[in-house]
């Protein structure tokens, strides 16, 4: 796929004609990877029209980074009296920790994690600081509180920015049970008093987000995060640490598959023993690369399968039936 090739080997874009460039840019925008692509192509010769588009993407990525860090600081100030750890997750965490994964990355909502027992305190502090509920539906609200790994989304009434407050990294209804307490305990402090996960837990969370939760929408960006997180860790014991942590969290299959796919698509350097062949990886890769030259999603049947799979992973069958029944009756 054009976009994967360009990210993996930026010099491969030298062969592109005008239509090829237009397709690459449309795909990169659709996958929210245009800022990352712009960083990867920095310093390489590209047509003038393309260099202007990439410069625009760099300006925009810088804006997203600035607003994400500002939003994190707003949350920090709202929670200044809270004594527990406030852990930044995903894009904001990568930006705050200055990681390679944050270079040019699109950053949307703010994601944080706190101890489950402290959710009421944290929720009250955020509400007092101007955040309010997005959903006013009683079923959705109760569903989040009973069965999800996060509070129902909050939005700040003045800044119009969303925050997701997590207490673990997977819905409690999913089969794997990650150990959130250890993740919090091992989180690393930043200078301003906020925290980020340890190296291994960052990679585990990213792999979980990609493969154990959700339908792989925007998965190429997620996999690029994984590529960067795995590439950036050079400590000799990183891989064994990653494997034992992932096993401890019940997430070794997801981490292993994510590493294999990053290796296959982006050429990530992973241990030779991890480079095994699995016939099902092909479906994941076909789903991740289902985009055409107009940026449209392709392979609708495969998309549907992964959509069904995402619900299957998230809840036990009986619960899923009940949930779909309620959602069907409430349809507009």
């Amino acid at each position: 796929m054009l976009l994967v090739d360009a990210l993996r080997d930026p010099s491969s874009t030298a062969a592109l004609d005008a239509d090829g460039w237009t397709a690459l840019l449309a795909m990169a925008r659709a996958e929210q990877l245009i800022g990352t692509l712009a960083r990867r192509l920095s310093g390489l010769p590209v047509p003038t029209a393309v260099s202007e588009i990439l410069e625009e993407a760099r300006v925009n990525a810088e804006y997203q980074r600035r607003s994400a860090l500002w939003e994190a600081d707003c949350a920090r100030r709202a929670l200044v009296d809270y004594v527990g750890k406030v852990v930044l997750m995903k894009g904001t965490a990568y930006a705050a920790a200055g990681l390679m994964a944050s270079e040019g990355r699109h950053i949307g909502d703010l994601d944080i994690m706190v101890a489950r027992a402290d959710l009421p305190k944290v929720e009250a502090a955020l509400l007092a600081a101007g955040w309010e509920w997005v959903k006013d539906d009683a079923y959705d609200d109760a569903y989040y509180r009973d069965h999800m790994h996060e509070l129902p989304p909050l939005i700040h009434k003045e800044r119009d920015r969303m925050i997701d407050v997590h207490h673990t990294i997977l819905p409690p209804t999913a089969r794997p049970r990650p150990d959130a307490t250890t993740m919090l305990a091992d989180a690393v402090a930043l200078e301003d008093g906020l925290y980020v996960f340890s190296h291994a837990d960052r990679a585990i969370h990213s792999a979980t987000h990609l493969l154990a939760d959700g339908e792989l929408d925007g998965g190429l960006r997620n996999l690029w995060d994984i590529h960067c997180l795995l590439t950036e860790c050079t400590q000799s014991n990183f891989w064994s640490e990653l494997q034992s942590r992932a096993t401890h969290h019940d997430l070794w299959p997801a981490v292993q598959r994510a590493a294999r796919m990053a290796h296959r698509l982006y050429g990530t350097d992973i241990p030779s023993g991890w480079r095994t062949k699995h016939w099902r990886d092909g479906y994941y890769i076909r789903r991740l690369t289902a985009r055409d030259a107009w940026g449209r999603g392709t392979r609708p049947m495969l998309r549907l399968l992964f959509y069904v799979r995402s619900h299957w992973l998230r809840m036990p069958p009986l619960m899923l039936a009940g949930h779909l029944w309620v959602k069907w009756r409430k349809r507009p």
Binding site: A49, E62, Y63
Partner: protein
Amino acid sequence: MYEFRVQVGPAAFRIGSAWKRPVNELAELYREYPTPDIADYSVRLEATSLIRRFIRPSVAINGDYILPDAAPLPLAQALLAAEMGMNLQMALGWRRHLLLHASAVEKDGKALIMTGASGSGKSTLSAMLGCKGWRFMGDEFVLLDLLTGAVVPFPRLISLKNTSIGAMQATALDGRFGPLLRDTPKGEIRHLVPARDAIRAMTQPAQPALLLFPSFGFESAVREIAPSEIFIRLTQASTNYVALGEAGFKTLTRFINTVPARAIDYRKGEEAEALVNQLWDDLS
């Protein structure tokens, strides 16, 4: 997917359509514009469902940047859908200039900028002045260069609405109007192709010389506005002021500090024209 490409000022668009007709209509109206190789943005006019491709066709506006809750339009209004799609790419994507929701015309190398809420008449005034000795630079977006502060033209098709359609049919040349679109979400719409010279000069910027806030429907009057109010109104009129950070702030404050501004009220096009000419002559 049928395809059409067009260059408008500094922006290159690729428009894809599930139907042939919108592409033909666009090609006809944009016939005097250049065709780019590489597109800055892609817009897609797609059927809302397989059935709606053939029976009572319904156009969903998609593209690089989309509004998730954008309402679909009937195929007869596909030109409007394309226009909305192109505007959306600029409003959400453009980061190369400070973008103001405003219209502009040029005379003697200097630009007059008009901004205001929809219904203020800024679009119609720019179209009218474009037929009376001024060069039309754009009726929707004004692009301010981040280094020089110059106004960069974005002379897309002029989108005339309701009563301004009749007013411009009396002023502009025949053969430069698109089809009349009835019952759109904005009432009646008819597109007008800008003057040939305005299209030919679409790469030539002009230094801003006067900023006007027109209001339609009030007795003819001219008022001064405090720079602080101008600043707030222009930040609201800009879709990328915040995203541009310091560069946006510098460009906007320089604009406000160097360009004289007035609010004008008018009830008829001729009144507005007289006020504009008077204020323009007072500059020199």
